[in-house]
């Protein structure tokens, strides 16, 4: 029998990507409910992903928006 926490670690990223089967989801959730070691890591991974997403979001410069609009092909 495989170490359940090692198995949980393997499933963590696919779990967060919502690509596990229903059965695997239930298995991951039941392990997370019982295991503080994995639960803490799960919370950390989740907040890290949200944070990276927020930090990486840069608004498009206004000048670029104008340049793109100027590339439109005029009607004849």
């Amino acid at each position: 029998m495989k170490d359940p926490c090692a198995h949980c670690e393997e499933m963590m990223q696919p779990y967060m990507d919502h690509v596990l089967t229903d059965e695997e989801m239930a298995e991951a959730e039941s392990h997370l409910a019982d295991c503080e070691y994995c639960r803490r890591r799960y919370r950390f991974e989740e907040s890290l992903r949200v944070y990276v997403r927020m930090a990486a979001a840069e608004p498009m410069p206004a000048e670029l928006r104008q340049k793109l609009a100027a590339l439109r092909i005029p009607l004849e």
Partner: protein, 204 residues
């Protein structure tokens, strides 16, 4: 005289005039839809490119090409993915190939590397999310992302920042879904290693 000729022709072939009007309308609509997506495309393009300047140029080349080849877009399909497919192809053409030459194997750590490193560095042994936010600045994130080799970075950027499915990312990059999954897995580990270095460097 030429003017009169044009009028005659239009009168002779009203279906043609009709077709041209429909096409003009479709094209205008296409351009408006593509421009409305530009913020979302930029969000991804910014990190597929190596710098803001590169992202700026890539966006312009992408939109210029998209406006020229609008007929090859199939209405009803995912326009954001279509635009990013053009963008990633242009990005590869712009000299990415040389960087695809054998590169050093990036250092990888396990999935919990960042957590474990931060925990080891923390008095109570438990890093919480606030501490990550405290320790990693926006610049740290941006530079850690840019330190991830292109092949890995592309999938992270499309899936984690761009919200594309594995299947969409596979189509945009023209690679199998299995490759998307394995690059994502390894890429996230590489990113965490880079982030750990930034976070711990600042602490010392």
């Amino acid at each position: 005289m030429a003017h009169a000729g044009t009028v005659d022709r239009m009168e002779a072939e009203p279906e043609d005039a009709q077709r041209l009007a429909t096409e003009a309308r479709d094209r205008v609509r296409f351009e408006e839809d593509a421009l409305a997506l530009s913020d979302q495309v930029y969000r991804v393009a910014r990190h597929l490119a190596s710098s803001r300047e590169d992202a700026d140029e890539l966006m312009q080349e992408t939109y210029a090409r998209a406006f020229r080849s609008w007929r090859s877009f199939q209405p009803g399909t995912n326009m954001r993915a279509w635009l990013l497919r053009i963008l990633t192809n242009l990005n590869i053409d712009r000299g990415r190939r040389q960087q695809r030459a054998p590169q050093m194997q990036p250092l990888e750590a396990n999935d919990y590397y960042l957590y474990d490193r931060l925990a080891a560095d923390n008095e109570d042994g438990v890093p919480d999310e606030d501490r990550v936010v405290e320790r990693l600045s926006q610049d740290d994130i941006v530079s850690a992302l840019s330190a991830v080799p292109h092949d890995f970075r592309d999938v992270i950027v499309l899936v984690d920042l761009g919200d594309f499915s594995y299947a969409d990312a596979a189509q945009i990059l023209d690679i199998p879904v299995g490759t998307v999954m394995s690059r994502l897995h390894r890429g996230r580990r590489i990113l965490k290693r880079e982030l750990a270095e930034s976070a711990l460097e600042e602490a010392t």
